[in-house]
Structures are given as structure tokens and as C-alpha cells.
Subunit: 230 residues, 4 copies
DNA sequence: AATGAATGAGAGTTCATTCAT
DNA sequence: TATGAATGAACTCTCATTCAT
């Protein structure tokens, strides 16, 4: 495992092992510091994993000392949990306030809804924090029962509400009955695929595949969702 | 210090923190020992992550001592790499020797092919080792450039070959041109979804959703793959 | 980090680890604050020992902040020394202004003197502060040369003066010559025994034994001190 | 509190702060190492107190490394407890297998018994390990409930058995009924006094007072214990 | 090949003390 | 005076790795 070089101030390179020390703004309001710490923690945890991340590096990246970090969080796990709580709520995968199903019986173009949905979903994939959080959740979630419990409950709730909406839309004749409306998860599956690619593949490949995937995803939805025209 | 409970054979308990000690079979043939070690390592790594797994626990689970373990692998990383190499080849997600595209122009029923494909894919999801390896790959891959490089290359090669087969099948009129044939990844996406559920959701939920997902997956494929009957 | 329970006034609970927060009386006269601080310090030091006591807890128990504490004492050691100085003077074991030896040749009943002596000595054993201070002195004294030096000098001076008084009383025929008058320490030994019991034994036992010890102590003195009646 | 100078090999002086490193005998039988460690621990704990003692110094004094120490004891507390267990059994204050009361009805000279008793008791006071353990027990006992619980039980049992023997001796006319036979603790009280002097006073003083105390103790016993000659 | 005591380099955590406010 | 965020120096404990047996 990589041994750390002795700490370097203001290092700029991607020097893996020691975080760049942010300028030390002494005495920040507590909630600003908390935010800085969580930003730093997201970076360090997702770069190295929970176990290999060092409190010292998180502190340095947040612009304070190791000891100072402990004035805000009582342990490494506490940092992780707070981080997950902050990121989980408005963030994860299937979270989508304007799902396809909000289609009104009126003649709103389904295409526009699909495009809005895809726009929101694929935009989130460009957000580093979203990808890093998902990565962390998959990688380390099982070591944090509370965190995973929260996520599980959220996830189930979300799927159920979206499934209900889709069901209604099908009954109203707004969406065609298909595999996609049987399980809304299939509507989101390609997005998960894109997210996992971003995690596992190199940037170049992911950046090349994602737009094509989005276009094909659009084709899939437009092939299966629109009701049979009478 | 005695942290270990007295040796228990092949126990599977969730006891986090201490591996069960396999019976000490002294002087095993080298390659059998290697296999035992890798099995033990897969368990420990996937249960706790690379960083938190302890060589002592891996050794104990494999039925030898810490020192003995080092007679077979020179370091913890070496164990991890060997593990990934063993698991990667025949195992990961898109690896499938009999993909849909092998359809012969002749009248073989497409349905049978689809069912064969689904059978193979979803069976792998029941294999703990497959899920654990995927989990590990996502969680720790980025810390092991060689491992991830190999996986990336494999993955690209696999997709390309399958894409080519599908393309040919479309040209032959065996498969309908659709979003699914545009990018074969969409054919596999629901399987990835099921795998991630197995990692993130609790067993009960995963076991309940997976069969429904498989059925819906089948419906999706049967809706989009068969050529228009003339 | 919030380790402290919401402030409780003058709580006495055994809660090891966190001091109750006294109400924050802002800007107290300096010497009142000092007293509050020393009271708090006695409690914390004797409960946990010098090393394990925390400035934060002492401060909280005294009703101010860590920083405020340092306005009154320059260091943890300074608090300890001030505490010992305050407690040592009027307090310790052999300190007794009305020792047995003050016996006048006249016919004052010796019994009354003995009873006065015992009353004073055993009353001090009921004083928590006395016991805590003795405990602290024995436990930590050796780490504080100045403190222990002072105590030693005091102790020697006290013994000598009492011994001189007793000697005179013997020569005057007021006390019988015995082991007890050979070394006055033997007169006090049972009190030390009671004090150590209070430190080491549980409250119930100490409370049960002390009165019996006092009665037996009285018997001892009455058996040996009165001069032979001519 | 004293800052430690950087560690010095084979230091000889009383350098308070870093233990002398014993020559490193690699690979000692486990129980020998345990003994060496407990010896080292007694020294360090009693010199600095439990809190201020450093595992590194204990290890060095025992001739191994910090990490090696943890192969034998799982924590600092575990060392302390093991130490107390080793020392408590045959050692503390009132432990005495040949108490005065073993007097046979026959004409054995009581004086010889008294002298034997005093010899044993005051000899223990010369044993550094005895004094250090008592000091530790008083100083740190309250932080180790199990240890103190054991000691308390032992102590009560011992007193009871000695009291019973003395009672019988009185009934048999072998000892005179007096304050000393009312509570055997009074027989031992001067020894406790001597022990506390050894802890609190300087060596010179203690060495000067102890023999006089012993002689006076003898006088006390000989004045009160022998039965009235008929 | 195998054992397990031993090493040594961290890592998390604590806390006396400082200092900007 | 008082506050409490911040520092920095320990300290305990862990664990990959080595090596005498």
C-alpha cells in the first residue's frame, strides 16, 4: 500500500497520499467548517476508500489540523455518516421529482417529458459529487448499517411512488403498457449503467459512451412508452 | 492475545472481526492451498474491504498461520491481485459466451435463446462469489491500476464483439433494429441493476425483486428483439 | 462534539467521564471563581486522578469555559498545587489543635479529652473533601515535589510538637507511659486505618466499620492512657 | 507534565521519562515475557501512575517493542489488571498466614509469636514491590472496579478469619480481652501507618522511623495481648 | 512449508494550551 | 474576563511484514 511522503504544503499535483493543505482560515463559523470538512471528506473517501482515507488528509484539505477536525466530528465514522446524510437526501440515482409519469391526459408532447427526464438524469452523472457518493455508497455502505438502512428505505419508497404514477398513466392511456411500465426500474437502468461506467471505466471511454447511451436510452423510451395511436 | 474463538469449521456466521479457523491441514499441495487462500481472501475482502481485511484473518480462514500465508503470497496486494485475476476471467457481468446474437438465420426459436441468455445471467447473480467480486471491483478497483486496466480492456473487447454479432444479426433480419441492438449494453442493463440491488439492498428485498425483474427483462427483450414478421 | 449532557446543577451522579455543567455565572469576583474552580478540581482529580482529569470537565463543573479557567490558573499543575495548598493547611490527618496532651495537671476528666479528640478526628472522616484530599495526596503526591515537600515538613513538625506535649504530660504524671506515648503516631493510627478503608472499601462497609472502630479506638486509649491511680 | 526526552538505549540514570531498554532477548517463552512485562509495568505504573505510564516505556523496560507487548496483553488496562492479580493474592497488608492467634493453649511463649508476626509484616514493608502495589491500589484502584472488587472481598474474608481466631484465643484464655482483640485491625494499624509513611515521606525519614515504630508496635502488643497472669 | 513472537510504521483519538474574537 | 475553535504533541492500539525456530 502506498506509503505517504512527508506532508507538503500547498502541493498541487495529484500526489496521491497527502492532501493539499487549504489556506488556514482560522476561526470559521462552525457550519462553514463542517461543510468544508464534508467536501474534503468526500474527496478523500472516494479517492481512497473509507479505510485508507486519513483524518489528517481530510483535515488538511479542509484547512485545519487533525485535532481541529475532532472539534466538529467525533470520529471518522461520524464524518462518513454525516457525509452520506448530506449527499443522500437530494441526490441518489432514482431520485427524480418530475418522473415521466406526470404526464397529463392532455396533449402534452411525451417527447418533451422524456427529454426533461433524461436531461435531469444525465446531468447528475456529470456531477462529480454524485458519482463519488454513489461509489462510496456501493463500496462502503455495507460497513455502515445506519447509512445503508436510510438509503434502502428511501430507495424503496421512491420506486413505489414512481411505480404508482406510471400505473395510473397506463390506466389513463397516457403510457403504453410495456416492460418499462411493469417495473419503473427498467426506465432507470441505463442511467445506472452509465454511472457504473463512470466509476469503473476511464474518463475518456465514459465520456465517449455516455452521450451515445443517452441517445439510445431516448430511443428505447420513445419506442416503448407512447400509447398506440388509435 | 486470544481474540479468536476456538476453531470452527467452515462457519459462515456474520461475526465481523474474526475469521473462523479452518482445520489446519498441514502441508497441502501448493495450488490447493492457493485456492483455499483465495477463497478466504474473497470472503474477508468483500466483507470488510481491502483496507480493513487482515492477513491474519485470511490466513485463519484458509487454515494456516500468518507466516504460512506469506509463503504463498508476497503481500496483501498480491493476494488481492491474484484474487481478481482468478475471478475476472470467467466471471464478470457482460461475460457471456452464448449471447443473443448467436442466432442462426435458420428458424431456431428466438425465445429459447433469450431464455438461455437470461438463465445464465441470472444464475450468476445467485453466485455469492460473483456478487462479492463485483462489489470488490467497484469498491477497491481504483486502488489497483493493473487490475482495473485488465478489467477495462476485457470489458471493451467483450462489448465490441457482442455488438458486432448483434449488428450482423440485424443485417440478417434475425433481430429487429431497436434501441437494444443499437447498444448491446442496454440488453444487459437490467442485470447490472439486479446485481447492484444485491449489493445495496437487503437479502429479502433482493430475493423478492429479482425474479420479477427477470420476468420483466424477458418481456422487454421479447417486445423489442424479434424481427417484424413479414 | 456534544459529549456533555445538558447542564445539570450540582449533580453528584457517578457518571464517569463527563462533568455536570454548573450554571454559567458570568463575571464572578475572582476569588469566588477560584474557590469554585478548586472545588470542581478536587472532585475531578479525586474521581479520575490527576492524569485522567480533564481541564474541560473541571471548567464545566466550575461553570465556565476551558479558556476561562486559564484566566485563573496557568496550567493543570497550577490548579493541583493550589488545591493541595488550600486543603493541606487545615486538614490533614494529624492536624489537631486540641490533642490529648493538652491535659492539665488538674482534675479535668481524661475521658472528656479523649472523647473530644475522637469527635474531631472521626468527624473529619465524614468530610468528603478530607478523604478526597488524602486520596489525592497519596495517589499523586509523588508527582508533585513541591506539594509533597510541604506536606512532609508539616507532618514532621506536627508529630514533633505533639510528641513533646505528650512527653511532658507523661512526666507530669497525667498520662501513663506506654507504647502510645512512646510514639504519638500510634494514637492516630486507627484513624488512618479508617481513612484508608473509606478510600478502598465500599461505602456500606466503611460506614458499618467506622463506628465500631471508633469505639474500639476509645477503648484502646482508655486502657493505656490514664495514669495508674495511686 | 514532564515531556519525554527522545528514547535512549541502555540509559542507566533515574532519567524519569524513558525506561531503560533491557537487552532484547528475542523470542522468549510466553510466560517468561509475561513476567518481565509485569515487572516492568509495576515499575512504570507506580513511578508515574496508570494514566501517565506509557506502553512504550513498559515495553522497552521489558525488552521488547510496543507492538510486541500487545501480543501478550490486549490493552493497558489488561496489563494493570494482570499486575494487580499477580500482586494481590499473596501480598497485601493484612495477608498473614501465621497471625498472632495461632497461639496454642500450651505454654508457647507469646513473645515469640509476636516477634514472628512483626518480622513478617515489617519485612514486607522493605519489599519495594509490596509498597508500589499498595500505592497503585490506593491511587488507581477506583478506576478498576474488578480489581478493587477482588481486593475488597479478599480483605473482608481475611479480617473475618483472623478475628475468629483471635476470639477463640481469648475464650481459651490465651489472649487477654482488649481493644486489640475486639478488632484485629488495630493489631495491624501501625503497619499501615508505616506503609503510608513509606509512600508519602522521604526515604531517609521512613528508614529512620520504621524501626522505632516496629519496636513501639511490639511494646503495644506485649502490653495488651498477654493474659493476666493468675 | 509452517509457526507465531516480534518489529515498526502508522492511524485514530485525546487533551493541555493558545488566541482571535 | 470569557469563549470555544484551533493547534500540536502525545498516546494507545493495529497490522503488514519479518524471521528464528
Amino acid at each position: 500500500m502506498p506509503k505517504k511522503p512527508p506532508s507538503i504544503l500547498h502541493a498541487v499535483a495529484q500526489d496521491p497520499g497527502t492532501a493539499r493543505r487549504a489556506p488556514r482560515n482560522r476561526r470559521l463559523p462552525a457550519h462553514e467548517r463542517r461543510d468544508q470538512i464534508l467536501d474534503a471528506a468526500l474527496h478523500e473517501f472516494s479517492e481512497r476508500g473509507f479505510g485508507a482515507a486519513r483524518m489528517e488528509d481530510i483535515a488538511a484539505r479542509a484547512g485545519l489540523s487533525k485535532g481541529g477536525l475532532y472539534a466538529h466530528f467525533s470520529s471518522k465514522s461520524a464524518v462518513f455518516k454525516a457525509l452520506m446524510q448530506r449527499m443522500l437526501l437530494p441526490n441518489l440515482l432514482f431520485d427524480d421529482q418530475q418522473p415521466l409519469a406526470n404526464t397529463r391526459p392532455s396533449g402534452t408532447a411525451l417527447a418533451a417529458l422524456v427529454d426533461g427526464f433524461l436531461e435531469g438524469a444525465y446531468a447528475r452523472l456529470e456531477d462529480d459529487r454524485f458519482i463519488r457518493t454513489l461509489h462510496l455508497l456501493i463500496a462502503e455502505g455495507s460497513r455502515f448499517p445506519e447509512v445503508i438502512r436510510d438509503w434502502r428505505a428511501d430507495h424503496v419508497r421512491l420506486i413505489q411512488s414512481q411505480q404508482a404514477m406510471v400505473q395510473r398513466a397506463v390506466q389513463d392511456g397516457v403510457l403504453r403498457d410495456s416492460a418499462l411500465t411493469d417495473m419503473v426500474q427498467l426506465i432507470h437502468a441505463p442511467i445506472l449503467l452509465a454511472a457504473v461506467l463512470r466509476i469503473l471505466q476511464d474518463d475518456a471511454y465514459a465520456r465517449q459512451v455516455t452521450p451515445r447511451l443517452r441517445a439510445t436510452h431516448r430511443r428505447l423510451l420513445m419506442e416503448l412508452l407512447p400509447p398506440d395511436s388509435p
